[in-house]
Symmetry: C2
């Protein structure tokens, strides 16, 4: 739903405030009034940029997911060897999750909750195709186990969400060494 082109700053500020509130209070305690107050605008102004609260949260999800996926394939090249290509994507994702911890926590909350429309969720998932392609290539080259992409994702990418949540709670500090161990575990779980 396209509304305004002008003053994208305000729109971005609204998205940012929403992210912060949903992260800290949960969707059930992130009312429009608080979003407006935190942004420094009137509640009515939100409706110049978004159709509804649901529209706001859906757009936020899709945009954060897009920025995540864009980051994931930075410097990735399909001609790279399987393991090297996987390592680049994996580390891109890992770095995103620990540099942009608020965004990552938000995504994990969305992915485990019915708060986002199913259609928006599917839209957000499409951008990961190059990783799935890489895995398929790895399977035919007998480098990666011949198991479903869901399994491969569950054991390589998904664990990062847990580590990140622990990181946020200061339960597990993630240094370079820990990251290397994590990558090794991911790779060991799927390599033949």
């Amino acid at each position: 739903m396209v509304k305004r082109e002008k003053n994208n700053e305000k729109r971005t500020a609204l998205l940012k405030a929403t992210l912060s509130l949903v992260n800290n209070n949960g969707f059930h305690d992130a009312p429009m009034s608080k979003i407006a107050k935190l942004t420094g605008v009137s509640p009515a102004t939100i409706y110049l940029y978004f159709d509804s609260k649901q529209d706001l949260i859906n757009q936020l999800y899709v945009e954060v997911k897009a920025s995540f996926c864009e980051c994931a394939f930075n410097e990735y090249d399909e001609s790279l060897p399987i393991k090297k290509g996987f390592e680049i994507i994996w580390k891109n994702i890992a770095h995103y999750k620990f540099k942009n911890i608020e965004e990552a926590v938000f995504l994990s909350q969305c992915d485990n909750t019915p708060m986002i429309d199913e259609t928006s969720k599917e839209e957000g998932l499409k951008h990961l195709q190059p990783l799935i392609d890489l895995w398929e290539r790895g399977k035919t080259e007998k480098i990666i186990k011949p198991i479903s992409s869901y399994l491969l994702y569950a054991y390589t990418i998904y664990p990062l969400a847990f580590l990140m949540n622990m990181q946020k709670k200061d339960k597990n500090q993630l240094d370079e060494n820990c990251l290397e161990n994590a990558f090794q575990a991911a790779w060991d779980s799927i390599r033949i």
Copy 2:
């Protein structure tokens, strides 16, 4: 908070209705009025069994988590060899998550959301100690990688949550073969 001893059925029915509503609608769209209606009682009746909505959801979380952890260590014995002991616990957990998919989805929603009090969350986490002990034993016996328990959990148990969510959306059917692959991936990621 101890309230009534009598008529535990109604209390259980309230918990069950809450679980179902939160799962399908999210916490933000599971009002007391709907919980009451689904249970077939008056809204006021809820407050004979629980202090508040927050108390209701906290108690639900703690009890579901407890039943999950109880199931996890069924037939487990500390004298078992590392791999066998791990396999038993892992498969217990896997079976719980796929036999009690509603409960498991609920737990994953709670664990990724600020909807549960932090104290209740910590209470729920305590019961997993035997698994951590097993891992420690595995490390000293040089069977399991010398990495933190958070990493071990992230790569062996946490992935099941993803598989289960996919299962619920009918995206990934989990047969016995897939389960075996999943266990192998889990073990491969942490064994030396």
